[in-house]
Each structure stands twice: as C-alpha cells, then as structure tokens.
C-alpha cells in the first residue's frame, strides 16, 4: 500500500512566495496575455487603418468601461513584461543581484507597472 510520508503543503493562502517569485510568475503570465492579445491588436490596427469609419470603430472598442478595462489590462501586461524584462537584463549584467537590491527592484516593478498603466490608460472616456 503506497503511503505518503513526505510532508505536502500546498495551501495557496499560506504559502509565502518571495516577491521575486511573484514577479517571475507575473512576467510569464503577462507574456502569455500579450501573446493571446496579438490577433486583437493586429485586427485593431487593420481596422484603424481601413478608413475614418473604421478608425472611429476601433477607437470606440477602447472606450467605455469595458474598453478602459481592456486598455488597463493590456497596458499592465505590456508594462509589467517590459519593466520586469529590463530588470532581468540588468541582473544578467550583474547589476542589482545582491539582496536587498533584487527584492527592492522586484517591488518597484510590481507596483510601478499598474501605476504606469493607470497613468497611460487615462480617464474613463
């Protein structure tokens, strides 16, 4: 009879992942979001280029509450991926590898991406 002898602890509410780990997961998640958003973005570009009526329709897709949320989500994913990517490049170049630098920069990216996304997404129009 197989017995489980090793302790297994998978309570997601109690596991305390280091902030750099959260950043890493979010880097992947944001990358996958951007990948999945590709056809929408290319379609949006094509629509906006198709003429003034198409341009207005493309703009309308990004307006309203739904449009704002879409803008915010895509901008967050883009900015998080970009900022976290810059952080990884700096770490590759041996900058900010030591504690507490790598932890501070992880917090900076985690907080900075949504703030910058809010700023660039603009108001609810």
């Amino acid at each position: 009879m197989p017995t489980q002898t090793r302790p297994v602890f998978l309570n997601l509410l109690q596991i305390r992942l280091p902030v750099a780990g959260v950043l890493s997961i979010a880097h992947r998640a944001s990358g996958v979001i951007l990948f999945l958003a590709l056809p929408f973005l290319v379609g949006l570009l094509e629509l906006a280029l198709s003429g003034e009526a198409g341009f207005a329709r493309a703009a309308a897709l990004l307006q309203g509450i739904g449009g704002w949320m879409l803008r915010f989500l895509l901008l967050w994913a883009l900015l998080h991926h970009l900022l976290a990517g810059i952080r990884y490049l700096l770490i590759d170049a041996d900058l900010g590898v030591q504690a507490p630098r790598y932890r501070q920069s992880a917090w900076l990216v985690l907080a900075g991406a949504p703030l910058l996304a809010l700023l660039l997404a603009g108001g609810l129009t």
């Binding site: 992947r28 990358g31 996958v32 951007l34 990948f35 590709l38 056809p39 290319v42 570009l45 094509e46 906006a48 280029l49 198709s50 003429g51 003034e52 198409g54 341009f55 883009l78 970009l82 990517g85 810059i86 490049l89 590759d92 660039l120």
Partner: protein
C-alpha cells in the same frame, strides 16, 4: 535542425537581443501615443507608411514573433510533459504566430 538553432544558449541570446529592440521600440511607441495620439486613419496611415517607421515596424514585428515563439515555447516545455500534447500545442503556437505575422505583413504591404 531548425529547432536546434533556436534552443538552449542561442535561444537565450535571441530572446534578449529581440527584447532590447522591442523594448526600445515600445518606449518610442508609448511615448508617441502619450504625447500625440493619432486622431484619424489618415494620420495613422501617414505615420506607419513613412519609410523609416515602416522598416522599424517591420523589424519590430519580426522581433516580436521570434520573442513570443521562444517565450511561449519555454512555458509549454515547462508545463506540458505529454509528448503528443506538447507537439500539438507547439504546432498550434507556431501556426498562430505565423498567421499573425502574415497578417501584419499584409497590412504593412498595403499601407506603403
């Protein structure tokens, strides 16, 4: 052979090289959109159809497809262990990226 060319250290280097170009282009693009958003199809067309930007955007699209391929492939290799499912997903991702790339190429050809 072609898969090998984009594996291991080479993939790592390509991922970073494309990241630098994509990052630079994005900073420009986001800045451009924040400072002077396009207000008409004609303005957008004039911008994208300009020689310098047309080439820069084409390179951006190529870098993006390569970057996305390496990144999503890594995610699939990490999480999908079943060989048949892995192969099917990789093929779907490659097709998806190829289709988006051809679509973008068509748009670029049309705008110039």
């Amino acid at each position: 052979m072609t898969a090998r060319r984009l594996a291991g250290f080479r993939a790592w280097v390509w991922q970073r090289a494309t990241a630098v170009y994509i990052g630079l282009f994005l900073v420009y693009l986001l800045g451009r959109l924040a400072v002077a958003p396009f207000d008409s199809a004609a303005a957008l067309r004039a911008w994208l159809g300009g020689a310098l930007l047309w080439v820069a955007f084409g390179l951006f699209a190529l870098a993006l497809l390569l970057h996305a391929w390496i990144g999503v492939r890594d995610v699939i290799l990490d999480y999908v262990k079943l060989p048949a499912l892995r192969l099917a997903l990789l093929a779907a991702v490659a097709l998806f990226l190829l289709a988006n790339g051809l679509w973008l190429a068509g748009i670029l050809m049309e705008v110039r």
